[in-house]
């Protein structure tokens, strides 16, 4: 059984609300204050300083557009909560394409912000972890060529079968405290630079 959840805490965090002045903004601001969250309101664009210091963002879906955001489309670097008035499929598709981690339906009353924050933070953490794992896997995929090349070089140099050459590559990586991919790249680079090695 997994441990029950901790009490989520947002005390001292900073939120950005990208929405024109409206009672919705007042309602969200009131709820954020109860959670100890400061907030900045921006419209129609996000200033660089506001974007830099914010921990999370609420953005309007009804009047929102791509050019408002100082980051690549779909790559919000912080938990993003969509503020949805019109449930028109086109607007929902835009909110999804922007990478909303959670949403709040307008009008906003006395509740909902805490739930949206908890879900958005969790979903953003998962999104961030998935992206960094994906980057690492991509990098390893690119380095597979180097492993094949380094293994072939060692086979030729040492006149040994593939298994033995790969085992040697792994040993050298361990000794140098490098990943096997990094060791392979180093071997290939050295050979390309014309160094002659006598490997034991």
């Amino acid at each position: 059984m997994t441990r029950p959840a901790y009490t989520p805490n947002f005390d001292g965090k900073k939120a950005l609300i990208l929405h024109r002045p409206h009672p919705v903004v007042d309602a969200i601001t009131r709820q954020l204050a109860q959670l100890g969250i400061f907030c900045d309101t921006c419209w129609p664009t996000i200033s660089a300083s506001a974007a830099g210091s914010a921990d999370l963002i609420f953005f309007d879906v009804d009047l929102g557009h791509d050019e408002q955001f100082p980051w690549e489309h779909g790559q919000a670097p912080l938990p993003a909560i969509a503020l949805i008035g019109s449930e028109a499929p086109g607007r929902l598709a835009w909110a999804i394409s922007l990478g909303a981690d959670a949403h709040l339906l307008k009008p906003v009353g006395s509740g909902g912000v805490f739930t949206a924050l908890v879900i958005a933070s969790e979903s953003f953490a998962r999104r961030a972890a998935m992206h960094s794992e994906l980057d690492a896997l991509r990098a390893r995929l690119e380095q597979r060529e180097a492993i094949a090349e380094a293994t072939a070089c060692l086979m030729l140099q040492g006149n040994m079968p593939a298994e033995a050459a790969y085992a040697q590559l792994r040993r050298e990586a361990m000794t140098a405290r490098l990943t096997i991919e990094a060791m392979a790249e180093q071997i290939v680079d050295e050979l390309r630079a014309g160094h002659v090695h006598h490997r034991s």
């Binding site: 805490n9 009131r30 204050a33 009353g109």
Partner: protein, 385 residues
């Protein structure tokens, strides 16, 4: 509409019958007492008229009866609800009809509705001060037992955070269906695990059955006596203590109000009870908080001359008023009461207060400003006995 010379309808929505009638009746009695007192005093130029409905403890009755109060009497204010389920049921009606609910019970927090005024304690005013008292005295390896319902789940979850932050671990955690009195397996598990204490969030008959069975265990094995391994409760009140009797002796409860509170405000309040409701046997926090709610509402009506909810709220929030449990204030940002938690021990003469911080705690319904995960700060409770 000006109130001068008018009868102002006040909704009263408590379950004086059904599974938690003992607690519902307290809220009802406190409300009616305050209305009678205010009308008899002639201090205001209006008269309060109670519109009483009894949902009989059935959650599905609350919304319909609240709607009936509003439709038939035009009441803009309802004093009522005991459980969180019933409160959640009436909120849509409050929004639609611009009605205010004055909710006089402790609950598990994580709500702050603009049309609800919360006069009972939320977790940073009940379970956290209770554990702050108990952990240094009894240890941090508590056992969590509650009714299978949001109050038990959430209060236990908060307690788990606080216990682990203090270096303890949860010795066990069990939930009992509402109304169930079969607690033998839980008692057996407690006997085997020997926790530092038991945090009890059981409701009504389940709680009474548990306390009786635990007293039995304490008689069979002295290491389970209340002085060594107490049962701690956030919702154990005077009429319930009277019902459980000697079996609860020595167990510990937290509340902003106990009948034995030795303050001038309480003596005055008990004097009013004796004068206007002499048949009253016990007075609990549920009673006192409902009573305080009506007085606060009347002060708001009187100050503004209207029963419009926003206007009345504007007049009563953020101002310290006198209540049976001492000075009280409704925090403007979240509509919850600033309250002083007291720790008491159950005795044959009611609850005896053993620790009183004498410090009012601002309500923090979302636990935004309480670090439940880091080590709690050193106890600064003042032991008065």
């Amino acid at each position: 509409m000006a109130l001068r010379g008018r009868k102002v309808a006040i909704g009263v929505l408590f379950s004086a019958s059904g599974p938690y009638a003992a607690i519902g009746a307290e809220g009802l009695a406190g409300t009616i007492l305050a209305i009678d007192e205010i009308n008899a005093s002639g201090q205001h130029d209006f008269v309060l008229e109670a519109q009483v409905r009894d949902p009989q403890g059935a959650t599905e009755n609350y919304a319909a009866l609240a709607a009936d109060i509003v439709a038939t009497s035009g009441a803009r204010h309802i004093i009522g609800c005991t459980t969180s389920w019933s409160r959640k049921e009436v909120i849509p009606l409050l929004e639609k009809s611009n009605t205010m609910l004055w909710y006089p019970c402790p609950y598990e927090g994580f709500e702050a509705h603009e049309q609800v005024i919360y006069l009972g304690a939320c977790p940073n005013q009940h379970v956290l001060p209770l554990l702050e008292f108990a952990l240094p005295r009894f240890g941090a390896d508590g056992y969590l037992v509650g009714s299978n319902y949001i109050w038990g789940w959430e209060t236990s979850r908060i307690a788990r955070d606080a216990m682990e932050a203090a270096g303890g671990r949860v010795a066990g955690e069990r939930y009992v269906p509402l109304g169930d009195v079969d607690v033998d397996r839980i008692i057996e598990e407690i006997r085997l695990k020997r926790p530092s204490f038991i945090l009890n969030t059981l409701i009504g008959p389940s709680s009474y059955a548990f306390l009786k069975a635990y007293a039995e265990l304490g008689r069979a094995d002295s290491s389970f006596q209340a002085a060594l391994r107490p049962v701690l409760s956030c919702n154990f009140s005077e009429p319930e203590l009277a019902q459980v009797g000697a079996a609860a002796e020595g167990q510990i409860a937290v509340s902003p109000y106990f009948q034995n509170l030795a303050t001038e405000e309480n003596q005055q309040f008990l004097g009013v009870v004796a004068r206007l409701a002499p048949e009253t046997e016990h007075v609990s926090a549920f009673f006192a908080q409902a009573y305080a709610a009506v007085h606060l509402l009347a002060a708001g009506l009187s100050a503004t001359g209207t029963d419009d909810t926003k206007t009345v709220l504007g007049a009563v929030a953020g101002r310290a008023v006198s209540a049976p449990f001492g000075p009280m204030e409704i925090e403007r940002s979240n509509n919850h009461a600033v309250l002083t938690p007291r720790i008491a021990r159950a005795t044959s003469a009611g609850f005896e207060i053993v620790a009183d911080q004498c410090v009012a705690i601002r309500p923090d319904p979302y636990l935004a400003h309480v670090a439940t995960r880091s080590a709690p700060h050193a106890s600064h409770l003042r032991v008065v006995k």
